[in-house]
Structure formats: structure tokens, C-alpha cells
């Protein structure tokens, strides 16, 4: 238990540091790198929740694919657009009340509840076989819809390039 406690303490500290850095960097690329570190750390966190496959998929898909897609898109824009992203304090007045309240509520609710008695997980053996069985045999409709959701960006890409053709010819 002590190993787990120490590891989670270190991970929480790292999350705090990189969240603050991600919040206060002005250059979008640096901000992006902090968020990349957060995503990889979340993959490590999944290991402590006994979901190693999800951890690997988190690193492969989020850190390896989705964020690389974002980085490629960043290079399409001129650098001046990304350099000085100031915090817009005009909007701080009312609109940021909601997330702060949400966060404080989360913290308080856990604190008020006290030390949880049920911290011991009931069924700790994560079996990917069970999950894949559940996903593909019983919730197959979700996979069917997912196929359409994933093929939608491909069709949208063509629409994007059609516009490009028009502007290029004119």
C-alpha cells in the first residue's frame, strides 16, 4: 500500500505542476507540450486503476495520434497567431465562477465524506476479454454508430478540400 500511496502522491504533484504550466504558458506550442505530458501521465494513472490496456490505448491514441494531428495543424498557421495568448481577464468576472465552484464542490464533497471505507476495490482483475465480449456482443450498436462517427471526418475533409480548390483557382 505504501508504494501505491507514494506513487500516487508523486503523480498528483506532477499533475498539479503541469496543469499550472499549461495554464500560464503564452506560447501555444509550450502549452500543447504540457498537455501532452498530462495525457501520458494519465496513461500511467490508468495502470494504477488496473486498466493497462486503456493506459496503452490512451498513450497510443491520445498522445500518439490525436495530439500529433493537432501539432500538424499548428504548423499550418503563422507563428504570430500562436505566440501571445494572453489570459483575458474581462471574462474572469462571472464566467469562471462555474468551474471554480465545480472544483471546490468536488474537493469538499470528498472531504466531508471523510476517509472512504470502501477504498478496497471489489473485483480487481481487469480482463480485457470480458470487456471486448461485452462491447462487441452486447453493445454492438455502439460500434455500428462509431463507424459512422469515424467516417464522418473523412467526408468532411473532402468538403474542406473542395473549398480550397475554389479559392486556389480564383
Amino acid at each position: 500500500m505504501i508504494e501505491r500511496a507514494i506513487a500516487l502522491l508523486i503523480l498528483t504533484g506532477l499533475f498539479f505542476i503541469f496543469t499550472l504550466l499549461a495554464f500560464f504558458f503564452r506560447h501555444l506550442v509550450y502549452q500543447f507540450l504540457c498537455i501532452l505530458v498530462l495525457m501520458v501521465l494519465q496513461g500511467v494513472l490508468y495502470l494504477y486503476l488496473n486498466a493497462e490496456f486503456l493506459g496503452a490505448i490512451q498513450v497510443i491514441v491520445y498522445a500518439g495520434a490525436v495530439l500529433i494531428m493537432f501539432l500538424f495543424t499548428l504548423f499550418l498557421f503563422p507563428e504570430e497567431e500562436l505566440k501571445h495568448l494572453k489570459i483575458d481577464l474581462k471574462n474572469l468576472k462571472y464566467s469562471s465562477f462555474l468551474p471554480v465552484a465545480l472544483f471546490i464542490f468536488l474537493l469538499l464533497s470528498v472531504l466531508v465524506k471523510g476517509i472512504p471505507e470502501s477504498y478496497q476495490p471489489r473485483n480487481i482483475y481487469f480482463d480485457l476479454k470480458e470487456i471486448s465480449n461485452l462491447l462487441f456482443n452486447e453493445y454492438w450498436l455502439a460500434i455500428f454508430l462509431l463507424a459512422f462517427i469515424l467516417s464522418f471526418p473523412m467526408v468532411a475533409l473532402y468538403v474542406f478540400f473542395k473549398r480550397e480548390e475554389k479559392s486556389g483557382s480564383s
Partner: protein, 128 residues
């Protein structure tokens, strides 16, 4: 007595040690190099290389938009590969429905992919 049920992923611990050792190896080489290598910097040495000419313009000027569809298609296919791995792992307990829904999934994704191919998004020669 510790509770044995509290989960610690101990089999992944050597990977962390390997990561740290590899990092120390790289940084150690660099630090050792910094002790012995010469340092004579002058401003002409520090300008970016441009085949001997004076550097002109910013580097971020003419990035072709061709890389954009590749990145997006890559993300879509990577998600697909992730789901495929989950399917592969539970194959022997799969029912007929589970078998055919994956085939259908692949067919729908490939339909979108071939639509893009046919419209020439990945043809480098096609002028825009």
C-alpha cells in the same frame, strides 16, 4: 499486514527504471561532452543554415496543406486499430454477431477511406 488487494502495477516498474537509465545515459553523454568540447561561438556561426546565403524570411511560411489530411486519416485509423486490438484479444469468446459487426465496421471505415482516395486527397500530383 498490508492489504494485498490494493493494486500496484509492479510488472511495469522495470520500464520506469529503464526510462530513467536511458535518460541518464543520454544526459551523461552530453554533460561529459560539454566538459571536453571547445566553445568558440561568434554570431556568424549561430545563424540558421541556408546553403551559404543570408537567411531570408521566416521558417513558417510555406507549409503545404497536404499534411493535414494525412494527420486526420492517421488519427481515425489509429482509433480503428485500437478497437481492432480489443476485438482480437477476445476473439475466441466472440459470437457470430460480434464477428460480423467488426467486418461491418471495417467496411464502413474503408468506404469513407476509398471515398477520399477516389476524390484524390492523397494524390500529390493533383494541383491545388
Amino acid at each position: 499486514m498490508e492489504r494485498p488487494d490494493v493494486f500496484v502495477p509492479s510488472s511495469y516498474f522495470p520500464i520506469l527504471i529503464m526510462l530513467i537509465v536511458a535518460f541518464i545515459f543520454g544526459v551523461g553523454g552530453l554533460i561529459f561532452g560539454a566538459l571536453v568540447r571547445p566553445k568558440y561561438y561568434y554570431s556568424l556561426k549561430l545563424i540558421p543554415y541556408e546553403c551559404g546565403n543570408e537567411p531570408s524570411g521566416l521558417p513558417w511560411q510555406k507549409i503545404t496543406i497536404r499534411y493535414f489530411p494525412i494527420a486526420i486519416l492517421f488519427a481515425v485509423f489509429d482509433v480503428e486499430v485500437g478497437l481492432l486490438y480489443a476485438w482480437c484479444y477476445g476473439f475466441s469468446e466472440m459470437k457470430a454477431l460480434g464477428f460480423f459487426i467488426m467486418i461491418l465496421f471495417l467496411i464502413i471505415i474503408l468506404a469513407g477511406f476509398f471515398y477520399d482516395l477516389k476524390k484524390g486527397l492523397l494524390d500529390w500530383q493533383r494541383g491545388i
